[in-house]
Symmetry: C2
Subunit: 410 residues, 2 copies
């Protein structure tokens, strides 16, 4: 992070004028006590921006929230884990709307000021009898326990993901807080992930929209765990202006600092999502340079980061650069085999398309840690792209074998 | 198979005028006795056709064979397992050429009449001292043991893949024989797979070229195990005309029958390659119908067949149609969620994008066998595509974790 940006305490409640609450409704399983319904609320009007999944099969709450955002700025986010409310048809839409209506009544807001998000199993109707009657209670318990909200949105995540930073905008300090969840279906272009960002910065609508897009592009759109894109991915940013700074306009004073801070917040959470991917043991940064174009660099990065064989080798601490170069070859990018260099955590593995004279022990060591880089230099142009990815473990497969049956048989 | 096509004995030596040989050279490991070098030889001139990998990083033997085929019809194929001779630079080309030269001398042919193929580890130079001196002996042992040749090209395959058929062309019976190997890196558009086809049919150059393309398109280009494309994939067809039929010309009399037979031979071997994919437990046929176009149907089929999460669920006998529909949604094809029907082995799992009222036990049973179909009907057009794929097992990951290290440390 740059010097102007400082990590601070308080998570999503660090910015002034935001409150959260979380309760346990037994959405996935009534017998299990765990936080699964959360509310994020701005005491003051906001300007907001959101990015939703690009999957054509998208969940009811995504449709509702997207529609709401077109007609209103958001004041609150109601979010549940345990059920995605996806592939649930007309009933799913009715249920998402019932959730937003209940939240709006409890908070004294309009229905369209509520964003609704759901994450969990696909194709099962929401247990509304366990959710709807609890929303007033949820709204009544608003406070500053951001960690509870971060826990309530977890599905197969093994730890809550939360961050807050402050950044100087002119002479004024503004704060940005965020929570996120990931785990399965993590993919470029938004995956089973949710991220909610609060900020007390005063920002124009045009600036918050552009800044959100830009931050998502350099963070959540550059991670991949399993190459699957979920039906529910959502990033929502709410800015309530309580810091009292001069409003940041698109490209105006303070815009660069604000965007850098927002990008850093999202990138930090994105990396934690990869590191906490289902049964992941490695966080790998694939850095492609020297491509004919940035798009070609992206093609190479995605082909390598999503190759099952490459990911298996990482799981076994195996410095198998041959599999990396074969993924480079089929990526669709322009490649001259005899120009390709590959570094594993800075150690030269392949030079000019051939095995480098590096001891195997040194190469193995390079890929044995929980985090390492893979540098691929195509040496034919100036295109660059970086992506964050993970290994593929036997435990991932075991973990993902029976979800639907187990849920249906419960 | 149609009635005109009959499966017969004899494998790759069933067609008249072809001989094969196989020996053990210890290419991968001198201490292990296994067949790893084979020769396929036509006693008579042929017309030939081949399809090579589309990977831009391609192996030395692929470059040599492709170049040889441009200047000559093939008379013999020299093939080894244990080493792919890929990412081996100038030395790799010199070695591939030395292999073809030795084979041409031993057989009294021109160098350009030899096709050379290699399969195995990438990025390691060929142990020429163990190969080159043995080629004369190999040529001296030509006979009709097609099974030995099928075994010699295996890498991680668990069984040899061989087939032969006869088909009536006019009044004349012609024979087609073939061997193939697959296992890792099996992917649409040619993967770590080799397939060699012999036929005694008299066929024109234009017809054998078109027929080979067409047969590959409906067979090897419609299978996927792990989504990785290898550097060595090759299909070679040699026709020597010894059946004495009237020469089949492009689209002329007998062309339809010949193409059907060639397509069936390749499809049969392609399915066996999927079923024998590394640590695969299921052969799954994904049939997409009702797409806006055939290309859209192909997009959907490939997205579903390559989804790690979908493949994991199949491994666990889990009828998780939600994961299937989410892959449909991100495939890039035009999709109306509320129109999508999904059948698992003929049992309705999802109707109009929603869970069908089918008992979970019945759905689980549908995906529990070693072979089943997944029918996806988009109900918006007439586009169709079928692909053959497999599950993803924990054992696949375990099997693919350490190849490079194990080879380098030997």
């Amino acid at each position: 992070m740059s010097k102007k940006i400082k990590e601070i305490e308080g998570g999503i409640c660090a910015p002034q004028g935001f409150q959260v609450a979380a309760i346990s409704c037994g959405i996935k399983n009534p017998a299990v006590e765990r936080l699964d319904l959360a509310l994020i609320y701005s005491e003051f009007p906001t300007v907001g921006s959101a990015v939703y999944t690009q999957n054509q099969v998208c969940a009811a709450p995504v449709r509702l929230s997207s529609s709401n955002l077109k007609s209103s700025e958001p004041r609150a986010i109601l979010v549940n884990s345990g059920n995605a409310n996806a592939c649930t048809g007309h009933t799913g839409m009715v249920n998402a709307r019932a959730m937003s209506t209940a939240a709006s009544k409890a908070l004294g807001l309009k229905q369209r000021e509520i964003q609704v998000c759901s994450t969990g199993i696909i194709g099962v109707q929401m247990p509304m009898d366990r959710i709807e009657p609890r929303i007033a209670e949820l709204a009544g318990s608003l406070g500053t326990d951001g960690d509870a909200a971060a826990r309530a949105i977890m599905t197969s995540d093994t730890f809550p993901k939360s961050i807050a930073v402050s950044v100087k905008i002119g002479d004024q300090k503004v704060r940005i807080g965020a929570i996120a969840k990931g785990a399965g279906m993590i993919n470029p272009h938004m995956a089973t992930m949710l991220c909610f960002v609060t900020t007390d910065a005063a920002v124009s609508k045009a600036e918050i929209t552009a800044a959100t897009r830009e931050a998502v592009d350099v963070s959540f759109n550059r991670i991949t765990v399993d190459g699957d894109m979920s039906t529910n991915d959502t990033v929502i940013v709410m800015a309530n202006g309580q810091a009292g700074n001069k409003t940041i306009t698109r490209g105006g004073a303070g815009s660069a600092e604000f965007r850098e801070a927002l990008g850093q917040v999202m990138l930090c959470l994105a990396k934690r999502i990869v590191a906490d991917g289902e049964r992941v043991t490695k966080l790998v940064e694939v850095i492609v340079r020297g491509a004919a174009s940035n798009l070609d660099a992206e093609r190479v990065a995605r082909a390598v980061a999503n190759s099952k064989l490459v990911k298996c080798s990482w799981n076994g601490n195996d410095p198998n650069w041959g599999r990396i170069i074969h993924a480079v070859g089929y990526s669709g990018a322009r490649v001259k085999e005899e120009m390709v260099n590959i570094h594993l955590n800075g150690v030269l593995a392949a030079q000019n398309g051939l095995a480098a004279p590096t001891a195997i022990e040194k190469l193995s060591e390079a890929v044995s840690g929980p985090e390492f880089t893979v540098g691929i230099d195509l040496n034919i142009g100036r295109g660059e792209f970086t992506i964050y990815t993970s290994d593929l473990s036997p435990e991932y497969v075991l973990f993902n074998r029976e979800e639907y049956s187990l849920n249906r048989k419960k």
